[in-house]
Amino acid sequence: MTFYLLLLPVLLALVVLQHSLGVYLAFNLVNIEVSLALVIFAALRMDVLKGAVATGMAGFLMDCLCGTPSGFYMTIYYVVFCLFSFVSPRLYTEERWTLVLITFVGGLMEGFLLFVMSGWVLGKDVSYDLWRFFLPQLVLVSLISPFLFQLFEVFFIRMGGYERSLK
């Protein structure tokens, strides 16, 4: 229960922080989408219910902050979560470079879904933005993903949502 009570404020802080991080640490050139790493972490390391709820909430908060219609990022994150959740028993995620690769693949999936959903829901072609902003931020998030995973582990153990088993 503690997990669900703490989840909203923690995710709120995370989503706002990632927004500010992009503006200041990356000189407003790229966003640092920490929430994507969280979604992948949730799929690989967390209990399925807790992970799914965390993913949905992170997606909803992203929708609120980015101005996209409710459910836009929620759907994208949830699809990424489901895919990784199903393949997680077959993935060895203890190596750093495996985590980098997995996050990169997850980001590519998100990019593809962003492209499809933007065309379908918003009637927009975001291919330029994907190339100009999304790809650099994906590389950045992938490279720092092992550190982010360690941070999430510490955090979610305290919140009671962490499940280290290999399922």
Binding site: L12, H19, L49, G56, P69, G71, Y78, C82, D125
Partner: protein
Amino acid sequence: MMPPGKYRKVIVLSVVGAAVVLVFALGALRSSEPGLIRRLVLDVCAPLDGILRLPIDAMRGIWGRYVFLVGLEAENRALKAQNAELANLLIRYREGYEEGRRLKKILQLQEEGAHRSVAAQVIGKDQKGVLKTVLVNKGTVHGVAKGCAVLADRGVVGRVIEASWHVSRVLLITDSNSNVDCFLEGPRTQGILQGDRGGVCLMKYVAKTEEIKPGENVLTAGLSGIFPKGYLLGKVSGADRGVGGMFQRIEVLPAVDFSKLEEVLILVPAKGGGR
């Protein structure tokens, strides 16, 4: 409580997936107004973002104002010259304005007083996401509503697409979902200004027979009822007749530098309510 065994994952994912679809459907159904939770999140996040920005904004301010002063003297000299030139121009325009008022009185035309302006600060920028938007610190309690026009000192910024109690989201004119009816100041050619990639806009539906020169001012036409007539949108940076179809491809550089946007003016309908 939880379904045990090997089907637990499938059941949990299906249930949460159904909830996601439900939120998506509800969001699509009530796209005109942000829901209560969305408003709450916007109102909570904006101050949080502001707090996080405080120390770095302060550092940036000190650097810009007191340390990095290269070229300041030259800029000051140029601004003084420009100021003198503009002061002369202002006197001439004031004369014209007074003359127009007198003529209006004679013709018994009503003065345009449909809007009052609300000054707001930019508290968040998202120009790298799916939508090119900025957040401002005024909301429905200040009279701001969906559809209000937003201006800066140099020209048009965009329009409000979402408003919570104390925060509003402004869709920039550089977003591809933004369409503003406009005209060219010199030749009075009308068209639609649409956002394009790379922070520029395109003026659409201008026939190939029109002679368009780079540097021409693009102003709001005031036909849609969102933007009043005559506000500066940008300048023509290039026109190309070479592409197929009936119309030219006219690139417009926005008058406002959105990366440096700090304060804006929101035009609120004088009698309340949005459009």
